[in-house]
């Protein structure tokens, strides 16, 4: 009932672990799978070890809404190979998130991940607080990197979209044109939190990416808009914290979803959401979650009234 086929990846649940959350160690990713996730996405992996920004780098700014600026801290692909191997030993559907500063660096890491057994690559061209964000705000650069990588990769390629752009649709279309097998909509929103007592931004980097509850309705809107123009699957991402949030993404047109921030409540939340989605589908007499994809589009919404 919850099975989805995401560009060839057969998942037992449409809920995928989002990049950046618990994605450093095979053991935490296995735990997320054991809790019911269909696949896991690793932390974004770069060419070499990178410390990222100092703390504070993750803060909760209102219940369930967080801001972070990790700054792409990661152990580097050479070190991370052993974690990929360990994950694949457990037969876990694995998406490796990749970042770099040139298309060639992206390719090198993606190929190493593919050769070690990754089932798909997600490219992070949209981190709102690190230098690689520039690619994801430009449709031509997005098209070029996707085309470049697709020519060499055999496994599916997903593009994580930056919502901090004027027109997310043109970037998504560029990714599709380049041959992407899906887009992840969306990454975090660029945001700032200032402490009123000390008058300074709290995160060590200053600005950060907003995630969690507050961004869910915005993410649903992005998925809804993208579904109208894209042919490739959309992976809904942003603020999932209940079964309704997942259903909303599907009704808007998502083919799968990613969960991240809500895991501060514990990984058990995934099992609960799976169970409740199943119940929802049964109650509404659907046999598969795929049957509700895009259903929100069938309704006519009111046109903009004339001004006179």
């Amino acid at each position: 009932m919850l099975e989805v086929n995401l560009s060839g990846l057969k998942l037992k649940s449409p809920i995928i672990l989002a990049s950046g959350i618990l994605g450093v160690s095979f053991s935490s990713m296995k735990r997320v799978i054991d809790a019911g996730a269909g696949a896991v996405t690793t932390k974004s992996i770069g060419p070499k070890p990178r410390k990222g920004y100092k703390n504070p780098s993750i803060i909760e700014i209102s219940p369930g809404t967080f801001m972070n600026s990790i700054g792409l801290g990661n152990p580097g692909i050479s070190e991370f190979i052993s974690e990929i191997k360990e994950i694949k030993k457990h037969n876990i559907p694995l998406i490796v998130s990749v970042f770099g500063d040139t298309n060639e660096v992206y390719l090198d890491i993606a190929i190493k991940a593919e050769n070690t057994g990754a089932d798909a690559i997600e490219i992070n061209i949209s981190c709102p607080h690190a230098e690689v964000s520039s690619i994801g705000t430009d449709k031509d650069l997005t098209y070029e990197i996707v085309k470049f990588l697709k020519a060499k990769l055999s496994i599916p390629l997903f593009v994580k979209l930056n919502p901090n752009v004027t027109d997310i649709g043109e970037i998504a279309l560029a990714a599709q044109k380049g041959g992407a097998n899906g887009v992840v909509a969306i990454n975090t929103f660029s945001a700032l939190k200032i402490d009123v007592n000390t008058k300074r931004p709290i995160l060590s980097h200053g600005s950060g990416g907003l995630s969690g509850k507050a961004i869910h309705p915005i993410a649903v809107k992005k998925v809804f808009d993208l579904y109208k123009v894209l042919k490739i699957p959309i992976i809904g991402c942003g603020g999932i914290d209940s079964w309704q949030d997942v259903i909303e993404f599907f009704l808007a047109g998502a083919s799968a979803v990613q969960i991240g921030t809500a895991l501060y409540k514990g990984t058990e939340i995934i099992k609960e959401i799976n169970d409740e989605i199943t119940q929802y589908l049964k109650n509404n007499e659907y046999t598969s979650i795929n049957d509700i994809k895009g259903l929100a589009h069938q309704f006519k919404t009111q046109e903009v009234p004339d001004f006179n």
Partner: protein, 257 residues
């Protein structure tokens, strides 16, 4: 730390920690070393790095950020039927001071074993004398023998255990915090003698609430910030990283010295 506003106030429990932000410097996890009934919490700082150094230079009235209380806590006995040992090394005494205070409030007897490199590094000596001595006794030990027994805390504890009769052993509980090598030795002793054991672990962390994954313990994927920092023997037995590995800020696994 004085609690300035009373709404949403949560009382911390012994073993829990907070993330302390020193504006402009860093944010680090620190054990809560005490709290009173008026919403005031205490942390105990040893100047060991950039952030703790900055803390030591703070003046009364300066702002710091506090997130917490975070993590689980020591499972407390409810009566005097158990023989309780609280064993700490160095700054690891901080959460144990809170635990000893709580047990004293509950009128539960306990023995503290405190170890340090040198007598000048021993902590809370006066506090234990004044505040908890009605219900506790303290065995001090130092690496150089400058105060108390010469030797490490695990050695002192082993000496104590070896003097006990076999039927007393299942009646013991050990709570501990300190260098992981010490915790691992205590764990081994408690395994050998079948003693109930709790250790408070420490790892590098960013979020403190189950998201960043830097404090993951292999192979179960347990998180020090959320599943811990306190783990019992049964769990410790399954943690391959215990006493051996931690992760640095890049997420790379490195050995524990």
């Amino acid at each position: 730390m004085k609690n300035s506003k009373n709404e949403n106030y949560i009382t911390p429990k012994p073993g829990q920690f907070v993330m302390i932000w020193v504006p402009g410097i860093d944010e680090i996890p620190m054990s809560i070393s005490g709290c009173d009934n008026n919403g005031n919490w205490a942390i105990t700082v040893k100047n060991v790095g950039e952030c703790t150094n900055a803390m030591c230079k703070l003046n009364i009235g300066d702002y710091i950020g506090v997130r917490g209380p975070l993590g689980n806590h020591f499972k407390l006995p409810t009566n005097n039927s158990k023989k309780i040992f609280i064993i700490g090394g160095g700054i690891g005494m901080a959460p144990l001071k809170f635990l000893s205070t709580k047990l004293t409030e509950m009128k539960i007897k306990h023995t503290l074993v405190e170890g340090a490199k040198d007598k000048n590094d021993l902590m809370f000596m006066e506090y234990f004398q004044i505040s908890t001595s009605d219900y506790s006794e303290v065995d001090y030990c130092t690496d150089n023998g400058s105060h108390g027994t010469k030797g490490v805390a695990s050695y002192v504890f082993k000496e104590i255990v070896e003097k006990l009769t076999e039927k007393n052993l299942p009646n013991l509980i050990v709570y501990s915090c300190g260098p992981e090598i010490m915790l691992y030795k205590l764990f081994q002793i408690c395994q050998e003698y079948n003693i109930e054991y709790y250790a408070s672990l420490e790892r590098i962390m960013r979020c403190g609430c189950g998201l960043c994954g830097l404090c993951t313990l292999d192979p179960l994927g347990l998180l020090v910030c959320k599943d811990g920092p306190i783990f019992n023997s049964k769990t410790l037995k399954k943690i391959q990283d215990f006493g051996k590995y931690q992760r640095d800020f890049t997420g790379k696994k490195i050995g524990i010295e």
